[in-house]
């Protein structure tokens, strides 16, 4: 079975869980006065879950009889030729950035993310890189914090500045 049909199967399961919640879990919490309404918070999700499961199953059984489709020239069958490790490490870097943005502050976490990302992709001129990312980190913080007026903790929390 092709990747798209596997994915459609997973989506069908998610829609089934969504539908179960809409049909059997949500209405019990509804105040009695709202139960007189012709429309409940669960009405629209109930309709969506039914149509969604049908649409997912029509992809699973390949109702349209679509041939093999490859998304945007990249074929999952050739995954060995792609730089999967680099991509996974950069995804990890993004997660790490999300987790450290508050505790390490904007400047340090951004500097680390940009420098680490570039090194990971093969940049070897470390001094130049560090200089550019340091200027960029401070410049962007200044722009967002001062010009746009959106507060962002610049320094690590433990420094208590």
């Amino acid at each position: 079975m092709a990747l798209d049909r596997y994915i459609a199967l997973i989506i069908a399961v998610i829609f089934l869980i969504y539908g179960y919640t809409a049909f059997f879990e949500m209405d019990g919490l509804l105040p009695p006065i709202l139960k007189r309404n012709p429309i409940w918070p669960s009405t629209f999700p109930k309709i969506l879950s039914v149509i969604g499961v049908l649409a997912a199953l029509s992809v699973v059984i390949n109702l349209e009889k679509a041939g093999k489709q490859i998304g945007d020239d990249l074929d999952i069958a050739n995954w060995r030729e792609y730089k999967v490790v680099q991509a996974l490490l950069l995804i990890g870097g993004m997660v790490l950035y999300a987790l450290t943005l508050r505790s390490l502050g904007f400047l340090a976490s951004t500097f680390m993310f940009l420098t680490g990302g570039s090194i990971l992709l093969g940049e070897r001129r470390i001094v130049r890189l560090a200089l550019i990312t340091a200027i960029a980190s401070y410049g962007i913080w200044y722009l967002v914090d001062t010009v746009l007026g959106i507060y962002m903790t610049p320094y690590p929390r433990w420094l208590d500045l």
Partner: protein, 502 residues
């Protein structure tokens, strides 16, 4: 109408708004040229900046400028390095890149700029004529017709997804509608499907979803396949002669006129958009050309370059018609603009022209100014802006990812949002590997609350779903919606079956 037009003209011509158009066009061109960032990602990144401006007219003018700049930037990278940033500029590279290889990069860029300018300008004039008429008709609509109209819009978007893709597009639209039900909606005042996660109470941020659907997969694709970004050709440095001859101007004039009109009409249809307009424009002009000229198509024909460029810009303008008059976005980009308008407390729809004429008209007029800026300011700057193509990917990719993260963070001011972004971005990348179209998901997500709101209102008015068959207009629209999905899907199935047999 004239009064509103003049108010809009005054707003669009204010120094602040002119600076917004110029700034937007330059930023858009600059970023649009980078591989991996199409107009949708750029607008999504710019939305927090636009919202922080506070003035809805200025904000939307900035975003419209960014949109035009990005489309132009995409054409430039198509012509110079054969790396179209977006699908709508793929047809531009058919003849634009061969011209660059012949050392005519400057000429190709000029033709692209003139064709874009003419396409966008003719589109803007048609928009001025069409939009008010459509808006006055739409004022007669009730919530049930609105609901049905949105269903038609969503079905059309799925129907135009291409052969073998319709059921997938329907599935993605429903996934978008499902995602939109997460969180506490204004209508019921109770959290739904939050799974006890506090950060989901306010739902998923639309900027987060837009970044996750477009910017992250494209950047991850650039990491996975380093050849994807294209390399600047040595001839690229020869952008010196930007002039075109009289004969060339004579050749492209009728092409531009035809394709501007055709592109606009295609752009007005929900789901069709700039990509279909550009490919169709190219094909039509190729068929209309004389046998000798046809031979030149694909080898550096000026007609082959002017056709998709004018068509895609006119279509971009055309796609604003359903957005401004009905509040229904016809493409991913206009869906993002709709999200931005809602965040700015502006409700696009037929009432916009009457209630906030300064926004309605200034957006339309700034499109015209945007095109003018692209022609007189961006074109001479192109040789300098094109230097951005030489930035090494080792720098470029972490910065693109960082701006994506920042866009989501500033939009919601919440670090957990970044984790949602990464999770949704990885999911979107897997979906793209399996050729699931992602624009319908985002359009479904943005239209979801409005669709449910109109459905609820109609249900309450009719004490049930009787409105679906009791109001003839609603019934007709819903039947159109069903046929839009069923007929092409059935046809593609029959074609596939007969192909197998034959």
């Amino acid at each position: 109408m004239l009064e509103g037009f003049l108010i809009g003209l005054e707003t669009a011509l204010s120094i602040k708004n002119l600076l917004m158009v110029i700034g937007g066009c330059i930023i858009g061109t600059f970023i649009g040229m980078l591989p991996g960032l199409g107009p949708m990602s750029i607008i999504a990144i710019m939305i927090p900046v636009a919202i922080s401006i506070g003035d809805p007219s200025a904000a939307i003018i900035l975003l419209a400028g960014v949109y035009y700049g990005a489309v132009f930037g995409g054409s430039t990278s198509s012509i110079l390095i054969n790396a179209p940033g977006v699908a709508s500029t793929v047809a531009t590279s058919f003849d634009g890149y061969p011209m660059t290889r012949q050392g005519k990069a400057g000429k190709a860029l000029t033709i692209a700029a003139i064709a874009s300018f003419a396409g966008g300008t003719i589109g803007a004039i048609l928009l001025v004529l069409f939009a008010p008429a459509l808006a006055s008709v739409a004022l007669l609509f009730h919530s049930s017709e609105y609901f049905a109209l949105m269903v038609v819009g969503l079905s059309a978007i799925a129907a135009f997804a291409g052969t073998g893709q319709i059921t997938k597009a329907v599935l993605m639209t429903i996934a978008g509608l499902v995602l939109a039900t997460i969180g506490e909606g204004a209508q019921f005042n109770m959290p739904r499907f939050t799974m006890g996660i506090m950060d989901l109470q306010s739902g998923i941020g639309f900027i987060t979803l837009a970044m996750a659907m477009f910017a992250i997969p494209e950047t991850l694709f650039l990491i996975l396949d380093p050849n994807r970004s294209g390399k600047p050709d040595e001839k690229q440095s020869e952008i010196t002669n930007l002039r075109i001859t009289k004969d060339e101007a004579k050749q492209i004039t009728p092409v531009i006129a035809r394709q501007s009109l055709q592109g606009f009409l295609i752009g007005v249809m929900p789901g069709a958009g700039a990509t279909i307009a550009s490919f169709l424009g190219y094909a039509v002009e190729r068929n209309l050309a004389s046998p000798e000229e046809r031979e030149q198509f694909g080898k550096g024909s000026v007609k082959g370059l002017a056709a998709p460029e004018s068509a895609n810009n006119a279509a971009c303008t055309g796609s604003f018609v359903p957005l401004l008059t009905l509040g229904i976005p016809g493409s991913g980009t206009t869906a993002i603009l709709l999200g931005a308008l809602i965040a700015l407390n502006v409700s696009p729809g037929p009432r916009l022209m009457e209630d906030q004429p300064e926004i309605f008209w200034s957006v339309i007029l700034s499109m015209y100014f945007g095109n003018l800026v692209l022609l007189i300011l961006n074109l001479p700057l192109i040789p300098y802006i094109a230097k951005v193509l030489t930035v090494p990917r080792t720098f470029l990719i972490p910065f693109i990812l960082f701006f994506t993260l920042m866009g989501a963070y500033i939009g919601q001011n919440n670090a957990t949002e970044l984790l949602f972004l990464v999770g949704l971005g990885v999911t979107a990348t897997i979906l793209r590997f399996a050729a699931f179209p992602l624009a319908p998901l985002l359009i479904g997500f943005i239209l979801g609350p409005m669709l449910e709101d109109n459905f609820s209102r109609a249900t309450q008015l009719y004490d049930g779903i009787g409105f679906m068959w009791e109001r003839p207009m609603t019934t007709a629209l819903l039947l159109i919606a069903i046929s839009l999905i069923v007929l092409p899907a059935w046809r593609s199935r029959r074609a596939a079956v007969s192909l197998k047999k034959g």
